[in-house]
Amino acid sequence: MTTKMFGAPVQRREDPRLVSGNGRYLDDLGQDALAAAFVRSPYAHARILDIDVTNAIDIPGVIAIYTHEDLDGNTTERLPLLIPHPALTNPMTAYCLSPDVVKHVGEAVAMVVATDRYVAEDACERIKVDYEQLPVVVGLAKSRAAEVLVHVEAPGNVAAHMVQEVGDAAAAIASSPHQLTLSLQIERSASMPMEGKGVYARWDSDEQSIRLYSSTQTSTGVRAAVAAKLGMPLAKVECIAPDVGGGFGVKIMHPWPEEVLIPWAARRLDAEVKWVEDRREHFISSAHERAQLQDVEVGFDDTGRVLGLSVKFWHDNGAYTPYGIIVPIITSTQLLGPYKPGAYRVEFFSMYTNTVMVTPYRGAGRPQGVFAMERTMDAIADYLGLDRTDVRSANFIQVEDMPYDHGLLFQDGRPLMYDSGDFPASLAKLKALVGWDDFAAYRAQAEAEGRRVGLGIGCYVEGTGVGPYEGGHIQVETSGRVNVSTGLTSQGQGHQTVFAQIVADELGVPIESVFVTTGDTRRFGYAVGTFASRAAVMSGNAIALAARNVREKALRIAGEALEVDPGDLEIVDGIVRVKGDPESSIALATVAVMSNPLRYAFDESAKAATQFAHTGAMDYSKPPVADGEEPGLEGKGYYSPTQATFANGMHAAIVETDPQTAEIKILRYCVIHDCGRMINPMIVEGQVHGGVAQGVGGALYERMVYDDAGQLLNASFMDFLMPYASEVPHVETDHLETPSPLNSLGIKGAGEAGTIPVSAVIASAIEDAEGFPITSMPISPDELWNLRRQHAEGLIPDLRRGSRTTSNSPTSTNA
């Protein structure tokens, strides 16, 4: 190869297909399948007294109606607890169909299978369910009060209680020159991919096997769970993630009730069955994330250096905990960001409420943690009258501290140890990009025009590329086509492109000849999934290892054919050739032919590998396939790192708040991003843009509005305000590349980065514009207007604003 693919902004190989209507998403498959629809609980907490299907079963086109009573075997039992943890003392998971008591609006009660989705929904409407309503717990305050329990098995509504401590935080805070306390709050949002979930199952009665398609972030996970639930050998279950219309975390959760029930029904009915989630179902029966209450205590010195930090928070996990306590664990560890507090204690309670369960959504607990830490940094700066970046600098882990061990356990059960990063350099880049030092002048000018502007900042570190492992398989066909497969799935990250870039370089073939398959258990059975910004790190490195194995084998075979030392060979553009003597060469496709000794020629090129085709002298003492070799030019690789890689970034924003209407507008949004070496900078940029947009949604627009009865009042795109282009600012980016020493490609993950600090950044900027603390996110104009009023009434204190260089404070005017 003359052009290096790794690091180049290669156009995506997926795109010609996807822009011409030739994608194949879940609902594009199984056009002739039966359609399923679900009766879901309209109550947040209720006992099912009776289910009457009389009026539904005779509707023409209805094939079957199932309730919990109709289930059998393992499908009658609760869904699995995916990630057990010793601190999760009261785990609860749902059933496929509720047997008695429903715990949130949207929980599935009955399933209808019909010839057509319209008919299935008609039947759902005619099924009469009698409920006895039970008292409801909504919100962390009610959950903590525990006057009503979500589950009798979980006293105090506590699912988990966990403490981690490094040093003696209480003593360190007490002996610090200064102390501050903060009470913070962050609301619910959700992944909200444009394509909801969906499952399509084909039962093969001849082979007694299931082929399952799911819009999932883990086809191997779904396959194993379905095999277990249906009591089938793993060998008889295949799972494929087709084109997936976005995931953002919600589709890593599995198995969803529908992922079990659809194949179960397909087997039972000996028919193809499909279910495609509609938007309301996605709101009320998938998963949300984010809601936490946080109490922070911090002790620091005159330079702003944190000597002791103690954080206690309450995490709303909704009605069930199948995904364990991954989200609050991430909050509690990633809260530390690029800083090294003298001593740190973190305690959390994961709490039940009668709402949709909480599982990771892009950022996965980090936005909450970063919010706590960055609000604290701003508060310290304000208290001491220091520049906010100086306080951060005083606390940064330095380059020479790397690798830096925080002494805590991370979400993968392994030490929280940063591998790389140059935080002072990132901050310098950010200050230059946003014009940090010129902002005072800009503000003065804006204030002279009667405008109110603020500058905000947020820093984060993101553990990416967590294990346990991923694998890759590469096979070179005799045509020269290179087939690459890896088990994890794709939801828009461009894996068919970036993995092909890696293989093109490692193997020395044109990228056009490389074809990548992801998320298909028929092709690769061992995998974990796509989450935690791990795909590029994990599968990227596994595929690179596989490519090196294939390359080595190709050179060995070619070396024998050309009678040269394999070390003297190189592969360029799909041709194996002698270094310095390009005339002496053999095509990789021919090597593939030779790698597989044949009895039967299936085409012209295969003749070369048949038993009488050899020309030169043969050594008949050697077998056709040498000892230790396998036929075929293919190879595998697995990557299983000792720990996560740690990407990092810093964002700054300039916002303007309208003095009259309290409308909040983001004028500029700047991102410095360090994900190590970038495979494809165009794709990394795209990930950052999209992440920031979701962060902006979470900071200013999106929330889940539950009433006291546990009804989600905004369960549609009319009412849940996902940002359009008109709400998302232009994102200015700059990159720092500190390679990870943990893998040979030097990469760290990039998927979630853009989202993580946005709420903290916007809060910081609004606070800077307004002159009083912002402690709760998201924030709407209405809420800001009310805060102004409270501030004017003396209910909210002024910032000290010692660091402000302009004189006049705009805060109390017009409030």
């Binding site: 010609p16 609902d27 938007r279 947009a693």
Partner: protein, 194 residues
């Protein structure tokens, strides 16, 4: 269109429309949404359904050249109208044929010897990384195609405004704005309108 074909199940009517230049007829219940009719009766699955309540715009198709949300229309109301879906945006021509003008093109050769050339909007999305998961993309492509016919040389602000009725959860819109501007450029380079 009014003829009832079956009475045992749901009454079906024959619906005829011109889709991507081809006259198509299929039977469907009167309540069948146009989006479902296109996807399931005509099997043109390029049109996607993101919300089924007219907010996200993923299902946008062109009806007589005007962008409309196919999830908010019954198929019967599209009777005899001209529909363009994402499948109809690329220009198809015989192997020997050539497109008008110059400029960069991504051509996809199919088994049938027909080469399709990406339309300027499709081409721009590829060049500018205007899509990630691709689910919302067909709605953007159709919307922008119609927009550029009316406003062939938009400013960046106008481009942003033009796409602000469609939801995308992946891209943050920045590269879609870029794609609108690039599509206008490509159309001009090719000497044609998007």
């Amino acid at each position: 269109m009014s003829e009832i074909l079956r009475t045992d199940l749901e009454p079906l009517v024959e619906i005829t429309m011109r889709v991507n230049g081809v006259k198509r007829t299929a039977a469907a219940p009167t309540r069948r949404l146009l989006s479902d009719f296109l996807r399931h009766e005509l099997r043109l699955t390029g049109t996607h359904v993101g919300c089924e309540h007219g907010v996200c715009g993923a299902c946008t198709v062109l009806i007589d050249g005007t962008p409309m949300r196919s999830c908010l229309m019954f198929a019967v109301t599209a009777q005899d109208h001209e529909i363009t879906t994402v499948e109809g945006l690329a220009e198809s021509f015989e192997e020997s044929g050539t497109g008008a003008g110059t400029g960069t093109r991504t051509g996809t050769r199919t088994d049938t010897g027909i080469t399709t050339t990406m339309s300027p909007v499709q081409q721009a999305f590829i060049e500018c990384h205007g899509l990630q998961c691709g689910f919302c993309t067909p709605g953007f492509l159709t919307t922008i195609t119609a927009y550029l016919k009316e406003n062939p040389d938009p400013t960046e602000t106008e481009a942003r405004e033009a796409i602000s009725g469609n939801l995308c959860r992946c891209t943050g819109y920045q590269n879609i704005v870029k794609s609108v501007l690039r599509a206008a450029e490509i159309a001009n380079e090719r000497g044609e309108r998007a």
